[in-house]
Amino acid sequence: MTVRIRTGSLIRRALFGLLVTGIVLFATFPLYYAVITSFKSGAALFRVDYLPRAIDWQNYIDVFREQPFGRNILNSVVVATTVVAAGLLLSLTAAYALARQRFRGRRLLLLTLLAVTMFPQVAVLSGLFELVRAFGLYNRLSSLGLSYMLFTLPFSVWILTTFLRELPRELEEAAIMDGASPLTILLRVFAPLMGPAVVTTVLLAFIAAWNEFLFALTFTLTSEQRTVPVAIALISGASQHELPWGQIMAASVVVTVPLVLLVLVFQRRIIAGLAAGAVKG
C-alpha cells in the first residue's frame, strides 16, 4: 500500500517536472536560439546547431557599422523617455482629479479612457498623418512623441487612478486642514507614497513606447529617423533577396536583453500594474 502511494506520487512529480520543463523551454528557447544564431557568421549561419559552438562578435560589429543602429537605439531612447516623462506629468494630475475630485461626467471620462486603451491604432492613422504633416513633424521623432500619447496616457491614468483611490482619505483631509493647496497635496503628500505605482506606470509606458511599430513605420521615412522596431523589421543586406539573419539576430539580442532584464528585475511591479489595468478594470 505505502509503496504504491509512493510510486504514484513519484510519477506525478515526474510528470509535473516534465510539464514545468516544457513550459520553460517553450518560453525561452526562441531567445536562446536567437542568441546562438547571432554569434555565428558565414556558412555556419545556415547550419542548424542546438548548442553554441563558437562565439563570433562579427554580427554585432556589423550591425552598428553597416546600419545606423546606434542612431536607432538613441531615437528609441529619446522618444520613449519623452513620452514617459510628459505622459507621467499629465496622467498624475489627471489621475488625482479623477480619484479625488467629484465632478460631473467623471465616470464617463473613465470609461472613455478605458475604451481608448483598446483603440485600434490604424483607425487614427490617416487623421494623425494629416496632423503630423500639418505640424511639419513628418519624419521627425516629435511626431512619434505626440502620437504615442494616444496609448500611454489612458492606461497610465487608469493605473494611477486605481492606486490613488486606495490611499486613505484622512491623509488628504489632514493636509487640507493644514491649509495645503491641491498641488501641494499632490506633490508633498501623494508623490512620496506613490513610488511603486509610478514605477509600474513608467515601466509599462516605456515598454509600450519602445515596442510601438505602426506609427513609427508610417511617420518616419529615412533610416536615420527610425526607431528600433522599425529598424529591425526593415534591416536589409547587400542584396535585396538575402536577409542578413546574423545581423537581425544580433540587433534583436541587443534590444531584447536589457528589456528582459528590466522586466525580470521589476516583475512584481509589472504584474501588479497589469492586474490593476485589466483584472480590476
Binding site: 531567445l31 490604424v122 487623421g127 496616457l153 486605481t162 492606486f163 483584472v279
Partner: protein, 287 residues
C-alpha cells in the same frame, strides 16, 4: 490631459471617418472631395466596387476573426495551465515565473523576426527538428505556404501573449480563499472536481476580463503579421489591409474606410463589454 487626448485620439478619429467618405490621396489629403459611400460600395462599369465588394477585404475580416478566435482560445487554455502550475509551490518557482515572462518582455517585432528565422523554410530550426524526429518528410515553408501561414502567425502570437494571460489568471488564483479548498479536501473531493467546481467558477470573472482584453487586442493585430508574412493575402488582417490601402496604394479614402469599419467593429465589442461589466468598472471599487 483631455486636450492632449482630444488632439491625438478624438480629432484624428473624426478625420479618418471623414476621409472614408472622400477620394483623398496621400500626396494631398487636403484636396479631398466628398464622394459619399463610394469607398464602401459603388456601381461602376456593371460591377460592384469598393470596400464591401473587395474579396481581399472579406478575406482580411475572415483572417482577423479566425486569428482572434483560435489564438485567444489557445492562449486562455495554455495560460490557465501555466497559471495553475505557477500557483503550486515547488522549488525554483520564482525562476520558472521569470522564464514565463520572457516572451512578454520581447518586442513583437523582435519575436516576429526570431520566429521567422526558426520557421525559415531552408535553414530554419523547426524544420530541422521535425525532420530529425521523423515527423515530416520534407521541409515545410511555414510562412509562405498558404495553408500554414496563418497557423504560423497564430503560433507566434500564442507564444508572445500567453504569459500575459497566465499572469492575469495567476493573480486571480492567488486571491482565492483557502477555506473552500480545505472544506473540499475534508469532504474528499478529487482535484479535477475541485478545479471545475471551485476554482473555475471563482476565477471566471477575471478570466472573462482577460479574454476580452486579449480579444480586442487581437482584433487590431498588425505588426506581427506585417513582419512575419509580408504581403500575404492568406494572413492579411484588417489593420494590415487598411494600412496597405492607405500607405502603399496611397489611397487615403479607401484606407480610411477600412479603418473606420475596423473601428466600429472594435467599438461595438467595447460597448458590449462596458455595458456587461458596468458595475465593476470603478477603479479600486472592488479592491
Amino acid at each position: 490631459m483631455i486636450l492632449v487626448l482630444a488632439v491625438v485620439a478624438g480629432w484624428p478619429l473624426l478625420r479618418t471617418i471623414w476621409f472614408g467618405f472622400t477620394d483623398a490621396h496621400l500626396a494631398n489629403p487636403g484636396g479631398a472631395v466628398w464622394v459619399g459611400w463610394d469607398n464602401y460600395l459603388r456601381h461602376e462599369e456593371d460591377a460592384w466596387r469598393g470596400l464591401l465588394a473587395d474579396p481581399l477585404w472579406w478575406r482580411a475580416v475572415g483572417n482577423t476573426l479566425v486569428f482572434t478566435l483560435i489564438s485567444v482560445s489557445l492562449e486562455t487554455l495554455l495560460g490557465l495551465v501555466i497559471a495553475l502550475v505557477l500557483n503550486a509551490s515547488f522549488a525554483l518557482r520564482g525562476w520558472v515565473r521569470a522564464a514565463v515572462l520572457v516572451p512578454w518582455a520581447i518586442p513583437t517585432i523582435v519575436s516576429a523576426q526570431m520566429w521567422s528565422w526558426i520557421l525559415n523554410d531552408q535553414f530554419g530550426m523547426l524544420n530541422d527538428l521535425l525532420l530529425r524526429l521523423g515527423m515530416i518528410a520534407e521541409p515545410l515553408a511555414w510562412t509562405a505556404d498558404p495553408s500554414l501561414a496563418l497557423l504560423s502567425v497564430i503560433l507566434v502570437d500564442v507564444w508572445k501573449t500567453t504569459p500575459f494571460m497566465a499572469l492575469l489568471i495567476l493573480a486571480a488564483l492567488q486571491m482565492l480563499p483557502r477555506d473552500c479548498y480545505d472544506a473540499a479536501r475534508v469532504d474528499g473531493v478529487g482535484p479535477v472536481r475541485t478545479f471545475f467546481h471551485i476554482t473555475l467558477p471563482l476565477i471566471s470573472p477575471a478570466l472573462l476580463v482577460a479574454v476580452v482584453f486579449r480579444a480586442l487586442d487581437a482584433l487590431r493585430v498588425f505588426d506581427l503579421i506585417y513582419v512575419l508574412t509580408p504581403n500575404s493575402a492568406q494572413t492579411m488582417s484588417m489593420s494590415v489591409y487598411a494600412r496597405q490601402q492607405l500607405v502603399d496604394f496611397q489611397s487615403v479614402g479607401a484606407g480610411s474606410a477600412a479603418a473606420t469599419m475596423l473601428f466600429f467593429v472594435v467599438a461595438t465589442c467595447i460597448a458590449v463589454f462596458l455595458v456587461a461589466f458596468r458595475g465593476r468598472l470603478e477603479p479600486g471599487a472592488n479592491g
